[in-house]
C-alpha cells in the first residue's frame, strides 16, 4: 500500500492570477522532492482537487533548474478578480487550500 503525503509537508506555494487563469508556484523545501512533486501533482489530480475541472484546463510547467513548478489553471476564477462574486475574487487563498492536497509518497 502506498502512503499519501500532504503537499504542505514538503512544498510551499504562492498563488497569482492573470485574468481568469489561476497560477500556483509550487516549490519543495528540499530540492530532492522535486521529482516526487512533478510525478505526483498531475493535471488529473489537481483538476479533481480544484472542484472537478477538466484536466485539460490544467498545465504544469516544471522548472527543474530553479527547483519549482508552475501550475496554470484556466477558467479557475469565475471571470477574474473584477467580475467574480466570490469573497476571495483573486483566489489568493487557494495557495493554502492546494497544500492540503495529498499525493502518493
Amino acid at each position: 500500500m502506498s502512503r499519501s503525503i500532504v503537499l504542505g509537508d514538503r512544498v510551499h506555494c504562492r498563488f497569482g492570477d492573470k485574468g481568469n487563469t489561476g497560477l500556483f508556484v509550487l516549490a519543495p523545501y528540499d530540492l530532492r522532492d522535486l521529482d516526487w512533486l512533478i510525478a505526483g501533482a498531475t493535471p488529473e489530480r489537481l483538476a479533481a482537487f480544484l472542484g472537478g475541472m477538466e484536466p485539460s484546463q490544467v498545465r504544469c510547467h516544471p522548472c527543474r533548474q530553479l527547483g519549482a513548478m508552475v501550475v496554470e489553471v484556466r477558467d479557475l476564477l469565475a471571470g477574474g478578480v473584477t467580475a467574480s462574486l466570490a469573497i476571495d475574487a483573486h483566489g489568493k487563498t487557494l495557495a493554502g487550500y492546494l497544500l492540503s492536497m495529498s499525493i502518493p509518497s
Binding site: 510551499h12 506555494c13 504562492r14 497569482g16 492570477d17 492573470k18 485574468g19 481568469n20 487563469t21 497560477l23 508556484v25 516549490a27 523545501y29 480544484l50 472542484g51 472537478g52 510547467h61 522548472c63 533548474q65 530553479l66 527547483g67 519549482a68 508552475v70 496554470e72 484556466r74 477558467d75 469565475a78 471571470g79 477574474g80 478578480v81 473584477t82 467580475a83 462574486l85 466570490a86 469573497i87 476571495d88 487563498t93 487557494l94 493554502g96 487550500y97
Partner: protein
Amino acid sequence: MRRNAIKRPDGTLRIGAGAGFAGDRIDPAVELIEHGELDVLAFETLAERTIALAQLRRRSKSGAGFDERLTQRIGAVLASALNQRVLLITNGGAADPRGGGLAVRQVARDLGCASCRIAVVTGDDVLDRLDLDASAALDTGEPLAAYRGRIVSANAYLGAAPLVAALDSDPNIVVAGRTTDIALFLAPMIHAFGWSSDDWRTLAGGSVVGHLLECAGQLTGGYFADGDRKRVPRLARLGFPYADVNRDGTARFAKVAGSGGRLDRSTCLEQLLYEVTDPSAYLTPDVTIDFRAVEIVEPATDSVVISGANGHPPPATLKASIGIDGGFSGVGAISYAGLGCLGRARLAGEILRERWAEIYRRDPDQLHMSLIGMNSATPWKGLGTSEDAEPPEVRLRVAVQSMRHGEAQDLAREVEGLYTNGPAAGGGVETSVRETVAIISTLIPRQLVEPRIEVLE
C-alpha cells in the same frame, strides 16, 4: 549630474521598492529612503482591479482618477528624495496621470520645495482608438464588439520606452498610468546604463530584477509566513527590498539592516515565478523573458544575487485592459453560532433562494452563496454536504450581480430581513451595494499607443 545617473563607486544603480500595491504600507518606503542610500525609489500601485476602481471614480466624479494615496506616499518621502537626489517613479497616476502629477506638484509646493520637476507620462488611454471589431478578449476569444456600449475604459500596458523618454527630461518624479510593473524598474536601468533596445539578455536580466521588486514586501518575507516551516522575523516592521543592479542586468538584493522580514532563496523563488503563466516565455512589451535558467545565490544573510535570465524579442502587440460596466454587486452576510449553526445558515440560504424566485420572480441561481468558515475559499463547493463537520460558528454570505442597482439593493435588504424572519439566533448582518467595473484583456497594435511626456514644474 543628472538625477538618474550612476553615482555609486561600484558602478551599480540602487533601486528600491516603495510600494507593491495600492494598499501598501507607507513606512517601509520612508525607512528605505532614509537608510537605504538609494538612487531610485519606485512605487507600483496599479493592478487590473485598481485601475478599474480608478476609472470608476473618474467616471462618477466621486474622487480622483489617480491613486487615492499617491500624495500621501510621495509626500512621505519627497523632502528626503529631493535632498538626496533620489528619483521617484510611480504608475500611481492610474486613470489620470496628469491629475496625479498636478496633485504631486501641490504636495511639493506645500512642503516648500523650491525646485521639483515632475514628468507626466500619458498615452496609455486608448479608448478612443480601439477597434472593437478587430479586437477580442484574451481569455475567451469573444470579440470586443459584444461589449459595445458598456466599455468605459481601455488602457494599454506601456513598456519602458516612454518612461526612459520621461527620464531624458531629468525629472525628480515620474508619474505614469498603466505601465507594466516591470517598466517602472527597467526604465531607470535602461536610462542609466544606456542598454540597447535589442540586447535581449540584458533587458531580460533587468526585467527579472523589476519583476522581483514590483511586489515590494513579497520579496522580503511578506505573504510568506506559515508555521514553523516558514518563519519570518518581525513582520510588523517588514523591510522592503532594494537591488544593486549591475551593468549586465544581474543584481544583488538586500533590505535595510535591522528591518523585519527575511530575504533568501525561498522568498525569492515564490516571487520569481509569481503570476507567471509560462516560465519559458513571460511576455512584456520590452522583452520576452525566459526564467528557467535564473540562478539565486545567497552570499550573506538577507542578501541574494540573481543572474541567468534569458531574453527574446517581445511580441508585436501590446496588452490592454478594457473596463466593462459591470453594473452593481449586492452582498449580504449573517452569522450563526453553536449547536446547529450549519443547519440554520443553510436554511437561511434556502429562504433567500425561495424568496428570490417567488417574490421577485428572478432566477435563484443568480445568487452566489458561500459559508464563511466552511468553504468560501472553494466556491465550487456551494453550501457543502450533510457530511461536513459542524464548525463552532459559520457566516452565510450571499452575493448577486445585476445591471440594475435596485436588484442588488433587494438582495441586501433580504439578508437584513433574515433578522426577525429567518432562522433562530442570526446576527451581525452586514450588507453593501457597489458599482462594479469588470476588466478583460485584449491585444492591440503597438501603433495605437502614442506616449506623451509633459513636464510640470
